[in-house]
């Protein structure tokens, strides 16, 4: 029998209470007057305390009740012994070989392989072995092979090499657990060969081995005093200089060793050619940052690498990134034209901003061509009457993924035939008399208003709205903002692949002074970004992250694409759905395809996880305790089959009976002491 909460046994100290009560109790009843306690006081105290206990029965009942209650709180449970644990027999051995890139430090990989060969060589007749290679994920190199085929197991180890992933123990242990659970052999063992980096273990993570499994950690440690410099990240500061886009690269460098690095070299490579070299000095266990001179961004998918010489752990010395010129968001502002152009504030707002840039084109309703719509990402209808033809074309534009912002003032109208508006437009509401309307009840969770979420990040209520159109939101619409009377101010609807935003007032000074308020510019920018579904392309990803192969490509280009890995493998991307693939190598992934079949559609930079270069070692016993805890805690039953919750509950139900017995004894105690007090 074991206990779930043995700490409760501290409460057994409370047993002293009834004993003391029984010792003290009788003496308070009578007082003997005695001439002098002169001699009594001279007798040592301990003998004075040695008093006689009356009512042994009552004392025993009380002690037993207390003990039972304390035991109940300690939650005892019955543990079924696994016969296979104690007995001998053939082993099922799983060799877990760490191939994270930190294993490339010094001679670690050679020693790790030697340890794996030893483990394989230790297999006896009739025993079986598996080889599992793991870094951030686990891969079964060879599944449960008999000891006779040791050569195969050895070959699997020999074929392995350190990868670019970071260490994660939990997936490997889960794989080992599933391999062992299938095994019919009586003894199960996992041999974990790793450098046991602290960063690879984030607590238990549900990695439990079947009951009775032995986990043997084989640490491949050794000295870590060799120089080890890591380029942890780069930051890209863009600027525009004489209509050319430039960027300044700043690299962060960490020295993970106890030796300081002086007169090292940090090189910036663009397109594979070294461009600039800076001197690198880093203190022991220190960090520094180096900024290179600005570089002109010449074309799409420009590949950059920051490289810091060579040292004991080479994989983390290079840092890759990809930059492309910022692509502007093309916006067509449909305006009625004329001298007092209502689109003034809108076009001025769109002319500001670098990331992303907006290219605004003003068109009159009848001048919007198909070509305009094809090139544009967003169309803004600024209080114009839309003809049926334009309405249909705009509806198609939205269905195809375009964004549409409709500002409805006194002149606006929309044809019934084109059903993409989020709300039906009704009569104007005049708020020039009395208090003007205010915008409130913002949906801060929505992308348009997300920047205004924090306190003092823009006050929409400062804008005065003198007139607006009453609108009735449709069934698929979401109201993002309301006027103070509760009428919808901003309504959104998804139509096809695109989005439509309806602003129930004007975006000029005709009906409101919103364009004069500080919130106008960020509001318009945010609405454009949202409608254009703009996302800043990530300059790099980390090994272990997932690459979306549709990245940077249009829907039309998705057929026949392949992904070219840094090592030169070509991975086809089929149309069905395997468009996501995990990055496993450091370098540049290319997505190729298009009409020619081999044009570069996108380039993704992949970097190793800089956390892996921290070689701090953990105590392997922590992993042993966490995974083997399953056998002690009742998590796994015989033969590795986890117990059902009911079975676990049955094994732990003992506390219930103990508590009941304790309460019964307390009742008996009441009866006995009542009788005693009467006599």
């Amino acid at each position: 029998m074991s206990f779930i909460a043995p700490l409760f046994f501290v409460a057994l100290a409370a047993l002293a209470i009834p004993v003391l009560i029984h010792l003290i109790q009788r003496e308070k009843k009578q007082v003997v007057r005695f001439p002098s306690l002169m001699f009594v006081q001279r007798i040592p105290y301990k003998s004075v305390r040695r008093r006689r206990i009356h009512n042994w029965l009552l004392l025993m009942v009380r002690l037993a009740a207390l003990t039972l209650i304390v035991m109940a709180f300690a939650r005892p449970f019955l543990q079924r012994q696994n016969a296979a644990v104690a007995g001998g027999g053939a082993r099922e051995v799983v060799v877990l070989l760490d191939r994270s890139y930190s294993m490339g430090y010094g001679d670690r990989w050679e020693r790790a392989r030697a340890a794996a060969y030893d483990a394989i060589g230790g297999l006896g007749t009739g025993e079986r072995g598996s080889v599992v290679l793991f870094s951030s994920g686990a891969e079964i190199a060879l599944r449960s092979t008999g000891a006779a085929d040791r050569g195969q197991l050895g070959a699997a180890v020999a074929a392995a090499a350190p990868a670019d992933g970071a260490t994660r123990y939990a997936p490997a242990l889960k794989v080992a657990g599933s391999l062992l659970a299938e095994s019919p052999l009586p003894r199960r063992e996992v041999i974990l060969i790793s450098d046991f980096q602290r960063g690879g273990w984030r607590g238990e993570e549900g990695a439990r081995l079947p009951s009775g499994t032995t986990l043997t950690p084989t640490p491949i440690g050794g000295a870590t005093d060799q120089p080890n410099v890591t380029v942890t990240a780069v930051s890209l500061a863009r600027s525009t200089f004489e209509s050319q886009e430039r960027m300044a690269v700043t690299a962060g460098v960490v020295n993970r060793s106890s030796r300081s690095l002086t007169a090292g070299q940090l090189t910036l490579e663009i397109g594979g050619r070294p461009l600039q070299t800076e001197r690198l000095d880093v203190e022991a266990n220190g960090s520094t940052s180096v900024t290179f001179a600005p570089v002109t961004v010449t074309g799409n998918n420009m590949r950059g690498t920051v490289r810091a010489g060579a040292d004991a752990l080479a994989a983390d010395n290079a840092f890759n990134f990809v930059v492309s010129p910022v692509r502007p968001i093309r916006v067509i502002v449909v305006d009625r034209g004329g001298s007092g152009s209502a689109a003034l504030y809108l076009t001025r707002a769109l002319s500001i901003g670098d990331s992303p840039r907006f290219e605004a084109t003003v068109r009159q309703p009848d001048a919007v061509s198909d070509d305009d719509l094809r090139r544009a990402s967003v169309v803004v209808l600024n209080d114009v009457a839309v003809s049926t033809g334009l309405g249909r074309r705009l509806a198609r534009f939205v269905e195809a993924g375009g964004g549409l912002l409709v500002a409805i003032g006194p002149r606006a109208s929309w044809p019934q035939e084109a059903d993409v508006l989020p709300a039906t437009v009704e009569a104007p509401v005049d708020r020039t008399r009395g208090d003007p309307a205010r915008v409130g009840a913002l949906e801060y969770g929505h992308a348009v208003f997300e920047p205004f979420r924090a306190p003092r990040s823009g006050d929409f209520a400062a804008a005065r709205i003198y007139g607006y159109r009453a609108v009735t939101p449709g069934p698929m619409a979401q109201v993002l903002a309301r006027f103070d009377g509760g009428a919808p101010a901003l309504v959104e609807r998804r139509a096809g692949n695109g989005r439509v935003l309806l602003w129930a007032s004007t975006l000029d000074l005709a009906w409101s002074d919103l364009p004069l308020k500080p919130v106008f510019l960020p509001f318009v920018h945010q609405a454009m970004r949202h409608l254009a579904a703009y996302a800043e392309p990530a300059p790099w990803l980390t090994v272990g992250q997932v690459l979306d192969a549709s990245f940077g490509t249009d829907a039309a280009q998705q057929a026949g694409r392949v992904v070219l890995t840094p090592s030169g493998r070509r991975l086809p991307v089929d149309d069905e759905g395997s468009e996501v693939m995990e990055l496993t190598e450091q370098g540049f992934y290319e997505v190729r395809g298009g009409q020619s079949g081999d044009s570069v559609l996108a380039v993704v930079a992949s970097n190793v996880d800089p956390a892996e270069s921290d070689l701090t070692v953990m105590d392997p016993r922590e992993i042993v305790a966490a995974t083997a805890g399953g056998s002690g805690g009742g998590g796994a039953g015989e033969g590795g089959v986890p117990l059902t919750p009911e079975a676990q509950e049955r094994a732990q139900r003992l506390w219930w009976y103990l508590l009941a017995a304790g309460i019964v004894l307390l009742g008996a105690d009441t009866v006995i002491s009542n009788r005693l007090s009467k006599t």
Binding site: R26, F34, P35, S36, F39, S47, V48, R52
Partner: protein, 308 residues
């Protein structure tokens, strides 16, 4: 009046002793003391004499200033020289009892308290001495002098009266009252101290011996209840000190052996120290008959006087 007492062995064949409990019930101290002393004297063939003597000691030469009435004229007639007669003691000595009336004396486990026993003892002694025409006095004290009856031949009634109404009151302390009294007893006499001596033997002896400094003859009676000697309690109880009111839990069974040995050691130490300073010490157990106690003491004292 006398009752046979089974549990007290008779030291004198044929003698009958009176149970202190019975005596205590009589209440009239004069009657009690007379009964005890008469019986006691009747039981003895020879009465012991207390301290005082009129025996001639020596002659010495007359020096100017001596009272000429004390000149031995018969000797002058024979020798033609002036001699003065010297006597060993004054013919009538002072006799004072110093009685401890502290709170601790007010204890009795067998129907008679130590104070009652001490009062009867005092009355008996006073009565006995009064028979010899000696001057009798009484001092009661606890932590200070409570009552003081100066020694006088006419004070027998006063002494009995004071004894009759005395009551235990305050906690006691020997040193201060006895030191005060030591200065007071200017004239040589017999002093009897009656107490339960609940103090360190050294303190007791230091407090008592100054009484001897003026040449007083000092007799000490140590009164104890049988329960104090044997500690015959059964149940574990809280014991309360009569003088201080302090309480403490006591398990008699566990402590009896040590307690008895401590009391025995105390008594032995008192006996030892008093004999060193030539003070007569007698332990009296309140369960013993008074006349038996008196007899045993006085006969013992007579033997010692002969030796001196």
């Amino acid at each position: 009046m006398s009752l046979p007492d089974a549990h007290v062995p008779s030291a004198i064949p044929g003698a009958r002793f009176m149970d202190p409990v019975v005596l205590a019930r009589i209440g009239n101290l004069e009657l009690v003391s007379r009964a005890v002393v008469d019986g006691f004297i009747n039981g003895l063939h020879k009465a012991p004499y207390f301290g005082a003597s009129v025996d001639f000691a020596e002659h010495r030469g007359y020096v100017p200033g001596d009272d000429i009435r004390r000149v031995d004229w018969k000797l002058w007639a024979r020798t033609d020289r002036y001699y003065v007669k010297e006597y060993e003691a004054e013919s009538n000595s002072n006799f004072s009892v110093l009685l401890d009336v502290s709170k601790s004396m007010d204890y009795g486990s067998r129907g008679i308290t130590k104070l009652d026993y001490a009062r009867i003892l005092t009355a008996c002694l006073t009565n006995l001495v009064h028979h010899q025409k000696d001057r009798v006095g009484l001092v009661t004290f606890d932590n200070a002098v409570v009552e003081h009856v100066p020694p006088s031949a006419k004070h027998m009634e006063v002494v009995l009266h004071v004894l009759d109404r005395t009551k235990a009151g305050r906690p006691g302390s020997l040193r201060q009252p006895l030191h005060d009294l030591a200065e007071h007893f200017g004239r040589r006499g017999v002093l009897v101290v009656v107490s339960d001596f609940y103090e360190d033997p050294e303190t007791v002896v230091d407090a008592v011996t100054p009484l001897r400094f003026r040449g007083n003859d000092l007799i000490v009676f140590h009164i104890l209840d049988p329960a104090e000697l044997s500690f015959g309690f059964a149940d574990a109880s809280a014991f309360e000190d009569l003088e201080t009111g302090e309480q403490m839990p006591v398990v008699p069974d566990a402590m009896r052996k040590e307690y008895v040995s401590l009391v025995r050691a105390h008594i032995d130490a008192l006996q030892q120290r008093f004999s060193e300073v030539r003070v007569d010490y007698t332990l009296l157990d309140t369960s013993k008959p008074l006349d038996y106690a008196l007899f045993s003491y006085l006969s013992g004292r007579e033997k010692k006087m002969r030796l001196r």
